[in-house]
C-alpha cells in the first residue's frame, strides 16, 4: 500500500480565488498575508483552494476527503484544467498542465485523463455506447475502433447488453457505471473521481465501491478520488488528504490519519471510525523486555496465541477470545512484543499509547 516512487500528479502551492478581483486579492494574500475573511470583505472574493500541495504516485489511489464547500471539487478540476488556478502549478507526468495550448490540453483530457462526476453528467441524447465512446469520437478515432474499446469498458463494468439503451432507461447505479466506463474507455493513465458514489443509496454505493476497487486493482490507474465520506476514503484510498475550508489539513495513510489526527477537526471525523481494520498489532504491542520488567519474566510463552505485527485488531480479537493469556507478537518466530487485553481494548478505542 505504500505510495509508489514515480510521481504522476504533482500539485504545487495551488491557490484558487473566485471573484472579479481575484488577481488583486491573490496579490494581497501573498504580499500582506490577508486571511480568508479579509479577502472576502475587502475584495469580495472567495478563496476556494488555499495553498494546496500534494503528489500522487503511479497507480496510487489518493482520496481527498472534506465536507461540502471545502474546495475538494474545485481542487480536482485543476488537474484537467476545467478550472484555471489563480496561482501555483500542477504537473501531470512532469508536464505543466497550465502551460498547455488549447489543442494539447484537449488531447490530454481525452487520452490521459478520465473523469467521473457526482451527478453522472451522461449525455441524455446518446446511447450508452455513444456516451462511453465520446472521448474517442472527439479525437476522431474511427467508429469500429472506438466501439470496440467502448464495448470493452462496458464489459468491465458489467453492463453488457445495455449498450444500445439511453441513460434515462438505466437506474442510478447503472448510470454511474456508465460514467465509470466512459472514464476508462480511452484507457487513460489518470482517473479523476468527483464524489462518484455520493448520490447513490448505501447498498449500491457499496457494490460500486467494490467494483471500483477490483477494477482499480486490475488496471492500476493513478486515481484522485474525492469524497465526503471518511469510511469510503479509508476503504478505497492508499493515502488520504483531509480538506477543510480550502486547506489540505492533513495528508497520510488511513492508519496515520486515524491513529494520529493532526487537529481537533480531523479527530472529530476520525472519532466515529472503526479501528479494527486500521490499527495493527505492531502499533499497540509492548516490547517483550518492557513487559517482563513490569510483570516478571515469562516462561510459558509458547502457550500464548501468537500474531504478526501486521495483523489487525480484528485478528487479535479473534486470537484473544479463546485464551486468558496475552498475545505474543513474533517476527519469524522471534518474540518481539506483547499485546495485553488492556492494550487491545484501548486499541479498539483508537488509543495506541501504552498506558499500563
Amino acid at each position: 500500500m505504500s505510495h509508489k516512487d514515480e510521481v504522476v500528479i504533482d500539485c504545487k502551492n495551488l491557490w484558487k480565488v473566485f471573484g472579479r478581483r481575484a488577481d488583486e486579492a491573490m496579490k494581497a494574500i501573498t504580499e500582506k498575508g490577508l486571511g480568508k475573511l479579509e479577502v472576502r470583505d475587502q475584495y469580495d472574493c472567495v478563496v476556494g483552494v488555499q495553498d494546496a500541495s500534494f503528489t500522487v504516485g503511479r497507480g496510487e489511489i489518493f482520496c481527498i476527503m472534506g465536507l461540502s464547500g471545502s474546495g475538494k471539487s474545485t481542487l480536482i478540476r485543476h488537474v484537467n484544467r476545467l478550472i484555471e488556478p489563480t496561482s501555483g502549478q500542477l504537473f501531470i507526468e512532469g508536464m505543466d498542465v497550465n502551460a498547455l495550448s488549447a489543442k494539447d490540453l484537449r488531447e490530454v483530457r481525452a487520452e490521459k485523463i478520465g473523469m467521473v462526476f457526482q451527478n453522472m453528467a451522461l449525455m441524455p441524447h446518446r446511447t450508452v455506447l455513444d456516451n462511453v465512446s465520446f472521448s474517442q469520437e472527439v479525437r476522431g478515432h474511427d467508429r469500429k475502433e472506438r466501439h470496440e474499446n467502448a464495448m470493452r469498458a462496458i464489459d468491465a463494468v458489467d453492463l453488457n447488453g445495455w449498450d444500445q439503451k439511453y441513460p434515462d432507461e438505466l437506474s442510478g447505479g447503472m448510470q454511474q457505471r456508465v460514467g465509470l466506463a466512459r472514464a476508462i474507455a480511452a484507457d487513460p493513465s489518470i482517473l479523476l473521481m468527483d464524489e462518484p458514489f455520493s448520490a447513490l443509496d448505501p447498498l449500491i454505493r457499496r457494490q460500486l465501491q467494490d467494483k471500483f476497487m477490483s477494477l482499480a486493482a486490475e488496471m492500476k490507474k493513478t486515481t484522485l478520488f474525492i469524497t465526503h465520506d471518511l469510511d469510503e476514503a479509508i476503504r478505497i484510498g492508499d493515502r488520504i488528504g483531509i480538506m477543510k475550508d480550502g486547506v489540505l489539513v492533513q495528508v497520510g495513510t488511513p492508519e496515520e490519519i486515524v491513529t494520529n489526527p493532526i487537529d481537533d477537526y480531523v479527530a472529530d471525523f476520525v472519532a466515529g471510525i472503526s479501528k479494527l481494520e486500521l490499527i495493527s498489532a505492531g502499533k499497540i504491542m509492548e516490547p517483550v523486555e518492557a513487559y517482563e520488567q513490569r510483570l516478571g519474566s515469562v516462561e510459558n510463552l509458547d502457550e500464548w496465541p501468537e500474531a504478526h505485527p501486521e495483523h489487525s485488531l480484528d485478528d487479535l480479537v479473534n486470537l484473544s477470545i479463546s485464551t486468558q493469556h496475552p498475545i505474543v507478537v513474533r517476527i519469524e518466530g522471534k518474540p518481539i512484543g506483547v499485546v495485553t487485553k488492556n492494550a487491545l481494548l484501548r486499541g479498539i478505542q483508537g488509543d495506541t499509547e501504552l498506558t499500563q
Binding site: 487520452e111 453528467a121 472527439v138 479525437r139 444500445q164
Partner: protein
C-alpha cells in the same frame, strides 16, 4: 430660433423641440431609393428562391401533394396527425376550385420565409445563448421587430425593393424571426452545464460541444421556435398581400375590398387550415421519437413501415 426659445415652456417642453427624426428617416429612404440598384442581385436571389419553391409546389398534382404531405406528417408526428393532415388538406382543396393553388403559393412564401429565418436566426440565437452581452444587445431589437406595426416598415421596404414576393418575404422575416432567436438562445442556455463540463473534461472542442452536445439537447426548444416562426409567418400573409404577394392572403384582401364575405371565408379558412397542418407537423418534430415509443426516428412512420416490410421479405 429666438421665437422658439420664447415659447419654451417647462410644463410642456416637448412641443418646442423638433429633432427632425421623421425628416432624417425620410432622408434615409431617399438615399435607399437612389441606390436601389445595389440590392438588385440580392433581390433576384430571393425572388428565384421563392419562385422556385412556388413553381415546384404547384407543379406537383394536388392528389400527389396531398399524399406527400400525409407521409411527411406520418413520419414527423405519427399516424393520428397524418390522418388529421389528410382530412384538413382535403377540406382546404374543396373550399373553392382555386384554393389549392393559392394555398401552395402561400406555402411557398412561408417556406421561404421560415428557411431564411432559420438561416439567420439559428446562428444569432446560438450567439445570444453564449454571450450575455450579445443577448442584451439583441433583445431590444427583437422587441422592436415584434411590436412595431408592420405598416411602418412596409413602406420603406417597398420603396427599396419594390412590390412583390421578395418584399413580402422580408416583411414576414422581420416579424417572424424573433421567437426563433429567443428560443434558440433559451435552448442553449438551458442545456445542463454539468453535461457540457463532462464534454469539456473528455476533450471536446467548443465547436464539438456546440454540435454534439448543445444543439442536440436544445433541439426541442429550437423546434418550438421554428413552430412559432411558422405561425407568425402565416399571420403576416394578409399584410404581405398588400404589397402584391399572391396566395390566400390576397384572396382575403380582395374580398375585403369588395365586401365579399364568402371569398373572405375561403381565404381565411385556408390560412387557418394551413396553420393547423404546419403546426401539428412541426410540433411532432419537436417531440423526440422516443416519446412516441420507438427508439430512432427511422423506426417509425412510413420509413419504419418500409424497412419492416423489406426485412420481412428478406
Amino acid at each position: 430660433m429666438a421665437e422658439k426659445e420664447e415659447t419654451f415652456s417647462l410644463l410642456d417642453p416637448f412641443a418646442s423641440v423638433d429633432l427632425g427624426i421623421a425628416d432624417s428617416a425620410n432622408g434615409i429612404k431617399k438615399w435607399a431609393i437612389a441606390n436601389r440598384e445595389i440590392i438588385q442581385p440580392i433581390k433576384k436571389f430571393f425572388n428565384d428562391l421563392i419562385v422556385g419553391i412556388d413553381v415546384g409546389l404547384n407543379a406537383v398534382p394536388p392528389s400527389i401533394m396531398l399524399i406527400i404531405l400525409v407521409l411527411i406528417a406520418w413520419q414527423a408526428a405519427g399516424r393520428r396527425v397524418a390522418i388529421l393532415v389528410g382530412i384538413s388538406m382535403a377540406v382546404l382543396g374543396v373550399l373553392s376550385p382555386g384554393a389549392w393553388g393559392l394555398a401552395m403559393t402561400t406555402l411557398a412564401i412561408v417556406i421561404s420565409a421560415v428557411l431564411l429565418c432559420f438561416i439567420i436566426g439559428l446562428p444569432l440565437g446560438v450567439l445570444a445563448g453564449k454571450s450575455n452581452r450579445f443577448e442584451a444587445m439583441v433583445r431590444p431589437v427583437l422587441d422592436t421587430m415584434q411590436t412595431i406595426p408592420a405598416f411602418v416598415y412596409l413602406v420603406p421596404v417597398v420603396m427599396l425593393i419594390g412590390i412583390g414576393n421578395v418584399s413580402g418575404v422580408i416583411v414576414t422575416i422581420v416579424f417572424a424571426l424573433p421567437p426563433l432567436i429567443r428560443l434558440t438562445s433559451l435552448g442553449i442556455r438551458n442545456v445542463n452545464p454539468s453535461v457540457v463540463e463532462a464534454a469539456r473534461a473528455f476533450g471536446a472542442s467548443p465547436t464539438q460541444i456546440l454540435f454534439k452536445v448543445e444543439l442536440p439537447l436544445a433541439t426541442s426548444t429550437i423546434l418550438a421556435g421554428v413552430n412559432q416562426t411558422i405561425m407568425l409567418s402565416l399571420s403576416m400573409v394578409v399584410i404581405a398581400s398588400m404589397i402584391s404577394v399572391k396566395g390566400l392572403g390576397n384572396e382575403v384582401l380582395r374580398a375585403m375590398g369588395r365586401l365579399d364575405a364568402g371569398k373572405a371565408i375561403v381565404g381565411g379558412l385556408g390560412i387557418v387550415i394551413l396553420a393547423i397542418v404546419l403546426d401539428r407537423i412541426t410540433q411532432g418534430m419537436g417531440r423526440s421519437g422516443r416519446e412516441r415509443g420507438h427508439r430512432h426516428w427511422w423506426q417509425g412512420g412510413p420509413v419504419g413501415f418500409m424497412t419492416r416490410l423489406a426485412s420481412k421479405k428478406s
